[in-house]
Each structure stands twice: as structure tokens, then as C-alpha cells.
Symmetry: C2
Subunit: 237 residues, 2 copies
DNA sequence: TCAAAAGTGTTCGCTTTACACCCATGA
DNA sequence: TCATGGGTGTAAAGCGAACACTTTTGA
């Protein structure tokens, strides 16, 4: 057994894009194909070793810039995974023990437009990872599940959903973000009232033009007033 | 600049004991006096380097056993602190960079009875750390604040408060735990209703005897049904 | 029989939910 | 003028807060 513990920083990056089949907005994330052992050929979360003069977040940001061309506006620590047997697989036998500090990120629609995939990087809709990319390298499957649960939980009590959107947006678009993340339909009128009551959003005074219907007001997220919980309810069907 | 990053595991341990002045139940925690540089003589969170064949939680548990004689029933990861300048002090200059994975723990009343303080270990009421133990070594003051916020937040939506109590307890004692943690009085009748509605507690059928008044029912915490939020309200005064 | 804490009942007001309905625009 | 999504109104149900009131014990 080696007595060196390596420290790595990885990130689960979420973005919202249309689903390839249904066309509905869904969560996507980038994975990197491993080009060496252990787990050569498998998909893994983007990450890398922590450099000695680099802060943890900085390390996450640098890796994401390198692999996806992105600098997500929301980047938050998820958890530190460090069990001795955390990649209990034949592939990993004989390799050094790695403690990973994992971050999770949300990419705004505007930011997402800048995405440039690096070598061996590919984006997947989360609901297709099971068929197309599993099993992930190391314990990254477990980490991904954990990140998803955290995202879904946090969206209900904190205004992070805004991070998926550009500077200004109509409320219906914000609702579509919630629906995509929570994977269920929300009542438009009640949604509007709750968001406005929360004060996490402010009217820009402008409206979106060029719609095939009544032009919706544009809002921007109100930085200070991000307090208080939001209880999202679902409509039937 | 050194290119070696050291990995340590530390823990913020909370226990409830009577306040030395008021006699009311308050939060206490153990600190360890540093006996070498950096920060020699200052108080720090119990912790130590991560051993190569040790899991993260195991490391936390081993340190706590060694320093306090305790094996807390609730032990949960708090956060990984790893900024390059996280102990930006003259004391720390020239010392290796350390990434700390910090846990927090709750000690049950029954467990607390077993506490045996090791060398250089002392317990402090949290509200007296400012006068008696500050400034803490490294960034441990920041970490402690963060742990306190997390404890107070989590107590309102999860039944962790039970961890402070022995197997069986009357509801009034559980209420006193909430009051100590949240630092405010709660309405006994509404508290009772909320806890029972939650289902996080079950009737043992027994009662506490030897009280100077009507003997209260004894409850035990119901492991499975720890769902759903609890909104605690305060009584005035 | 009194004090003290356990435990129950009830009212008030606010929030959530469901859903009907009106508004403004492009086609 | 019609279809479509934006946006408002509102009544019913549910829930938290406040607090009066009953119960049960030891002293």
C-alpha cells in the first residue's frame, strides 16, 4: 500500500439544453473520456490534481475552462470523497489513493453559447447517462446522483435557478428552468406569485418583443433579496 | 513555496451542558491547545493528518476518541477548507499548505457522560469562546461559525436534535434541546404537535417517574420517518 | 390544596392550491 | 378574429401561532 494520498478537484457541471428526442429542456452535463488507466476508456467528471499554489475553486474553474471552455457563474462545493476503497474495482487496483473535492456548477444559457469542447469531452443529457456512459469511472456515478439530489433540493429553497438564465428573462422561462430541474409541471400563475413574493427577481421595465403572443415582461435577478424559501407545487398531468 | 499539500481531518464537536453562570442548557465544544508552531499556545479544533489506510470519517472518529474519549452518534461532513492563504498569519509563514476536511458531530447526553479529556483538551461554552479562546488557530474561528450556522439551520428541517438525547426522553427535554440550539424559547404545546405530526418520534408507552409534577411520557426517535420540515416558532419574551 | 409541568382544544390569520377569467399580440 | 401564452382575481383548504384550559403528580 502506498503512503501518498493524492488530492484532486472535480466538478459536476449542469446546463439546460433541449432534449435530443422530445425537444424539452433538460439537464445536460459534460464528461471526459479517460485516456489512461485506471478506467481507461470510461467517462469521468472533469477534474484534475490540485496544484500547490491553487485554491480549490480556482482549480475547479481552471479545469472547466480547459475542458469545456466555460466559466460557470455558479460554482459551489459539493462534498469531499475520500474513502480508501472508493473505486473498488479491478481497474483501480495498484493505483494511488485519491481524495476528491467535488464542486458543482450551473451554466447560464448565455454562457453555454461559448462552450467549446476539448479533446475527449462530450455532453450528455442526464437521463441518458445510464444507457450511454455508464458505468462511470471511479465512484463518479455516485457523485453525480448526489449532485443531482442537491441541485433539486436547493432549487426549492434558494434562487439558484436564476443561474441558468441570462441577465434578463421572462418569468415563464424561469418556470421552465424549475420544471426541467424538478422534472414536473408547475402552475404558471402560482409560480409567478411565489417568485414575486420572494423578491428574488425585479422588473426591468422592458418586455420581450417578437413573440407570437402577448409580450412578457423581462425580469432580472435581484442579488440581495435572495432570502426565504419557495414552496413549489405541481399541477396535475 | 513547497509543493507538498498536506491533508488533515478536523471536527467541530457539539454537546449540550448547563451554562456555568445561568445554569441553562447551552452548546459546548472541545478545543485542543497547540503545543507547537504554527499557532503554538492557541486553541484549535481537534484533528490530525489523514492516515493513508484510513477513511475520512474514521480519521475524525479516531481523533475524537483520542482527544475527548467520545464516539459521537452523529458525525457528518461539513466542508473542505483548502485555500492557499487560509491561515494568513505570521505564525503560519513557512509552514506547509494544509487542506482540511472538516466534520461536525453531536454528542448525546448519555455519551457525554463518558467524556475523558486528553492532554491539552478543554471544553468551552460556545458563547464564551470569543472571550476565553479567541483567536483560534488557523481559520478555525471561521469554521466554527460555519458549523454553528449549519447546526442551527439543519435542526429546523431535520430531526438531528434527537442525537443530543439518550435513547428515551420526554418531549420537554427535546424542546429544551431545540431551545438551546436555536437560542430562543419555543411554545411547548405547538412544539409537541409539530414533533408528533412529523412522526420523527414514537411513544414508548412508558413514563418518566420521580418528577415533581405530572409524569411525562417517554419517547424514542423513530429512525425511518425522519422526513419533512419542521417550522419552529418562538413565543414572545 | 397548591404549584408546576404535561398535555388538549380552539380560534385567528396567513399561505398554498386550484382554477376561472381577462389581456395583448402575431398570424 | 382566433389561438396562444402572459398575467390577475379569488374562494377553499391547510397550517402555524397564540393562548385558554384541563390533567396529574409531589409536596
Amino acid at each position: 500500500m502506498q503512503d501518498r494520498i493524492e488530492l484532486a478537484v472535480s466538478t459536476v457541471v449542469f446546463s439546460l439544453r433541449p432534449h435530443p428526442e422530445t425537444g424539452e429542456l433538460t439537464l445536460w452535463l459534460p464528461l471526459v473520456r479517460r485516456i489512461r488507466e485506471p478506467y481507461e476508456g470510461r467517462w469521468a467528471l472533469p477534474g484534475g490534481p490540485l496544484a500547490p499554489e491553487e485554491n480549490l475553486v480556482e482549480s475547479a474553474r481552471a479545469t472547466l475552462q480547459r475542458t469545456t471552455g466555460l466559466t460557470p457563474r455558479h460554482l459551489e462545493q459539493l462534498y469531499a470523497f475520500g474513502d480508501v476503497d472508493r473505486s473498488h474495482s479491478a481497474d483501480a487496483a495498484g493505483h494511488a489513493r485519491v481524495v476528491s473535492i467535488v464542486y458543482w456548477a450551473l451554466v447560464g444559457e448565455d454562457e453555454d453559447a461559448e462552450a467549446v469542447d476539448g479533446e475527449n469531452v462530450e455532453w450528455f443529457p442526464v437521463d441518458e447517462i445510464a444507457e450511454e456512459a455508464e458505468p462511470l469511472a471511479f465512484d463518479h456515478g455516485v457523485i453525480l446522483d448526489y449532485a443531482l439530489r442537491r441541485l433539486r433540493a436547493k432549487v426549492t429553497y434558494s434562487p439558484i435557478a436564476h443561474a441558468f438564465l441570462p441577465e434578463e428573462f421572462p418569468l415563464a422561462q424561469l418556470r421552465r428552468v424549475y420544471e426541467a430541474v424538478l422534472n414536473r409541471a408547475l402552475d404558471p400563475s402560482n409560480f409567478r406569485r411565489q417568485i414575486l413574493a420572494q423578491g428574488s427577481v425585479e422588473d426591468t421595465g422592458r418586455r420581450q418583443t417578437g413573440t407570437a403572443h402577448r409580450p412578457p415582461k423581462l425580469y432580472r435577478s435581484a442579488p440581495g433579496r435572495s432570502r426565504y424559501a419557495l414552496t413549489i407545487q405541481e399541477t396535475d398531468q
